[in-house]
């Protein structure tokens, strides 16, 4: 059973629909005990870092995510979920979960023709292998919608990057945690492959 963390952040049903399509048992839940008892956890999110953190704290989901991480449960962060696993975000100058040490700055680009948010399909370049990337080609494209990007303090946690005037991290990984800035649930067959790989990953 995959627990999808419910903290009213964006359209959680998109993730659910993709898992249903793949025939993967899942539940959308705000219950900390269901999350710490799940086989796997998906931590999605769209929206503002500050309001997301507020709702997580209200529901004591911050502790649940820390506990799940400490217990070795495989966790997949998506989009805002990936940003707020770091310690801070520039968005609303927000103190975040700190599962990984790091910061989320906003894009500051010099080319006026490059739009912010960074919306659309971009090539993802792998720095290292990971079980969730099994069968996915180097430089395959994934769907992004975001204005901030995740920068872990330890560069060893960067699994993949993309380029938008600057090169920035788009997949982070440490131990049983893997997190994507893009939306695998909206990235066609490659995104579904990543979700399917995650459902088989033991977190090691």
């Amino acid at each position: 059973m995959i627990a999808i963390v419910d903290y009213e952040a964006g359209n959680l049903t998109s993730v659910k629909r993709a898992l249903d399509y793949l025939g993967l048992e899942n539940i959308i839940t705000p219950d900390p005990s269901v999350i710490t008892g799940a086989e796997r956890v998906i931590f999605p999110g769209v929206g503002h870092a500050a309001s997301a953190m507020k709702r997580l704290l209200e529901r004591k989901l911050d502790k649940a995510l820390h506990n799940a991480f400490a217990k070795g449960i495989p966790i997949l962060g998506i989009c805002l979920g990936t940003q707020i696993i770091l310690s801070r975000s520039e968005e609303g100058d927000t103190q975040c979960l700190g599962l990984l040490d790091g910061f989320c700055p906003k894009f500051k680009l010099s080319n006026p023709l490059l739009k912010i948010p960074h919306i659309g399909w971009n090539s993802v370049s792998f720095r290292k292998g990971h079980p969730v990337l099994d069968g996915i080609a180097q430089n395959d494209e994934f769907y992004f919608v975001h204005s901030y990007y995740p920068v872990p303090s330890d560069a060893d946690c960067i699994i993949a990057t993309a380029e938008y005037e600057i090169e920035f991290p788009v997949i982070l990984g440490k131990d049983n945690l893997i997190a994507t800035q893009f939306h695998p649930e909206k990235s066609g067959p490659s995104g579904l492959r990543l979700l399917s790989n995650f459902s088989k990953w033991n977190g090691k």
Binding site: G10, N11, T13, S14, R17, A18, D20, Y21, V46, G47, P112, L113, L114, K115, I116, P117, H118, I119, G120, W121, N122, S123, E141, Y143, F144, V145, E163, Y164, E185, K186, S187, G188, P189, G191, L192
Partner: protein, 258 residues
């Protein structure tokens, strides 16, 4: 680097495709979900479903279509047509659409853009604008005017000003549909698209006039569009998505190939 997007638009009436979509050697079922799946399998980057159902009694049929699409294809898609209130927009979003698309209702009531943006996030709000070349005047300094009802009703709004207003109110993307170019298959309105793309900082999707892959190349380069909408060139089987994408790729446009 970010790829340019190819987006296809499907008109839906009472839950069925409004215009027959013809493919070589296949029977058109009239089911928008079947066509969406076919385009998804061929590598379309995004889809737009435009509900042209006349009777409000049949609006719930569209919600069912949206929900079936969301369970079948796993790329972003937006839904427009008949969305007049934030409640309408939220309903479509909850049914699984990534984005909502407002046009005439936003001209009549611009606060719909800001309210929808606040409720769903700017990334979920697409402002579609129908534009007609009416000539430069004191009221229309760009020479391009916002129109409704297929060009029959002029609004007195300058297209560039309306684009900026839309961005300011919280739209996350703009569809710039040239009524002059629409249906001509002679190419997108490059000048208009470029003027708007340079006036705003949000992505611009060019619409109307696409008849050949060269037209997409022109609007994605000279027109500075971030994406191009294609309809009849795909629906009538004149080109496949792969052919269009291969063409753009060979001409050096960054495009997602599957």
């Amino acid at each position: 680097m970010l790829s340019k997007r190819i987006i296809s638009c499907l008109d839906v009436r009472d839950g069925k495709l409004a215009k027959s979509v013809k493919f070589v050697n296949t029977v058109d079922s009239g089911d928008p979900v079947v066509t969406a799946k076919k385009y998804y399998d061929e590598g379309i980057d995004e889809l737009v479903f435009y509900d042209i159902t006349a009777s409000s009694d049949n609006r719930n049929i569209m919600i069912d279509v949206v929900s079936r699409v969301a369970s079948t294809i796993f790329i972003p898609f937006s839904v427009g047509g008949g969305l007049r209130t934030v409640k309408d927009c939220t309903k479509v979003r909850m049914a699984g659409a990534e984005k909502i698309n407002v046009n005439t209702a936003a001209v009549a009531n611009p606060s719909l853009i800001s309210e929808a943006s606040l409720a769903l996030g700017a990334q979920a709000v697409v402002l579609s604008m129908d534009v007609l070349k009416t000539g430069v005047s004191a009221k229309i300094p760009s020479g391009y005017e916002i129109v409704t009802h297929g060009g029959r009703n002029k609004t007195g709004l300058d297209a560039i000003e309306w684009a900026k207003t839309g961005e300011h109110l919280g739209a996350g993307e703009l569809v710039v549909n040239s009524i002059d170019a629409d249906g001509t298959k002679e190419g997108y309105e490059i000048n208009l698209t470029r003027m708007i793309a340079q006036a705003v900082t949000i992505p611009v999707i060019a619409s109307g006039g696409g008849g050949k892959p060269e037209h997409l190349y022109d609007v994605l380069t000279e027109g500075h569009a971030d994406a191009a909408l294609v309809a009849s060139m795909l629906h009538y089987g004149e080109y496949t998505i792969r052919e269009i994408k291969e063409y753009l790729h060979t001409r050096g446009i960054k495009i997602r190939r599957t």
